[in-house]
Amino acid sequence: MSATSDWSERSRDLAQLLARAGTGDRAAFATLYERTSSHLFAVVLRICRDRGQAEDILQEVYVNVWRAAGGFDAAQSQPLTWLTSIARNRAIDSLRRAQTQPQLQTATNPDDEDSDVYDDMADEAPGPLELLSRASDARALSHCMQDLNAPQRQSLALAFYDGLSHAEVAEKMGQPLGTVKSWVRRALLSLKTCLEQAAGRDDERSETRS
């Protein structure tokens, strides 16, 4: 099962649950929570690291989802995309507030140039780069990832999964800020162009089939 088709399939059931939650149906909302909270919690936890804070954020996310469910438009976005975006936004906002208490470990040994940039991550969670390659199981996404060079992939993964700012990615990779910015930008643009082309090919295929 490819990542994006799995994403779409999970979203289909969720659209109904969201619609019912939007009319005040608590049972539907509870089911929605059951099906999605583990995913959103993982996304938030990856960005803000602190479990207690992640729990607070998750709570805020779902209270907001409950209130905004009636305004969700299934024609405009997939439920899982919508939910994940809300969770990510909250998590990133929390980083802004916690800026005075830096959460990043600084490099363990600046002299050790061979050290992997992920060495200083204490947990055993997969590194952001590994996540990127796992997410690219889908044919289109996988194909598009190949267009990125290693530093582009790495900088995008650090920014997206771990919620690092450009400056933090630069620090982590030991590269100038401007360089990192342009890596992330090119990675995003390349993904966009590539995914759009892939979508175009899919459309052509379905047109010739019909």
Binding site: Y33, H39, F41, A68, A69, G70, S77, F160, R185
Partner: protein, 231 residues
């Protein structure tokens, strides 16, 4: 900056969705979203592109206590009427904000024709939300005096109301419950003198209420018009 340029909109949206847009820039971008459909579209497209990447993060079950707290916040096990959904937090309310803005600007030019004294008035356009049944397709304009003490509202088009209904104006603070600014006329200008209530408000809204105004002190009817306040 011209946010209607699609290339720039797309770049900002990419930074916003990927998470690298931070601090004041991120807040500024968010405040632009309600009024810029092009930005919203770009954001939606980037979300659709990037969010599936999160599928590879291993799920983590949150502790049961989180759901208990959510349940408590949304009103426990007691089934509540749909009205309990707090409309002022609904994203849909904001969606309509830009719809009538262009039309309203023409009206503004007329209203602003007489220049004020030292501090120019602030003008807020309240656009029809279009969410309520039988909502009237019109907008309100609220001009607030430079010192923030007085406000005049007037409909750009006459609003037709049933005899037993009234329009109530609300100040929406950044967080917390709306504060009533009193009833306003559906057909002409209303002078609102509740400057204090405007402090900290980020938006104005007009709801449909029973004659005499909301019996509860909070909006009870549908919100017909809403507008962002940028002082």
């Amino acid at each position: 900056m011209d946010y209607s340029r699609s290339e720039l909109a797309d770049r900002l949206a990419a930074d916003y969705v990927s998470g690298t847009l931070r601090g004041p820039a991120r807040r500024r971008f968010e405040s632009l979203l309600p009024a810029h459909p092009l930005l919203r579209t770009a954001v939606r497209e980037w979300q659709a592109r990037l969010m599936p990447l999160t599928i590879s993060i291993a799920p983590q079950k949150p502790p049961a206590a989180v759901w208990k707290r959510i349940e408590a916040r949304i009103g426990g096990a007691v089934p509540a009427p749909p009205a309990r959904t707090l409309w002022w937090n609904k994203l849909a309310v904001w969606r309509g904000v830009s719809a009538f803005a262009t039309v309203a600007v023409i009206g503004l030019a007329v209203l602003l024709a007489s220049p004020g004294p030292a501090q120019p008035p602030v003008v807020v356009v309240l656009s029809a939300t279009g969410t309520a049944d039988g909502a009237v397709p019109a907008s309100f304009v609220a001009s607030i005096s430079g010192d923030g003490r007085a406000m005049v509202t007037r409909p750009l088009v006459n609003v037709s109301l049933e005899a037993n209904r009234a329009l109530e104006l609300w100040a929406l603070p950044g967080s917390g419950a709306p504060r009533s600014l009193g009833l306003i006329s559906a057909s002409g200008a209303t002078v609102v003198k509740k400057g204090q209530a405007l402090a900290g408000a980020t938006a104005l809204a007009v709801s449909l209420e029973p004659a005499g105004g909301s019996p509860t002190g909070a909006p009870t009817g549908p919100v017909l018009f809403v507008g962002k306040l940028q002082l």
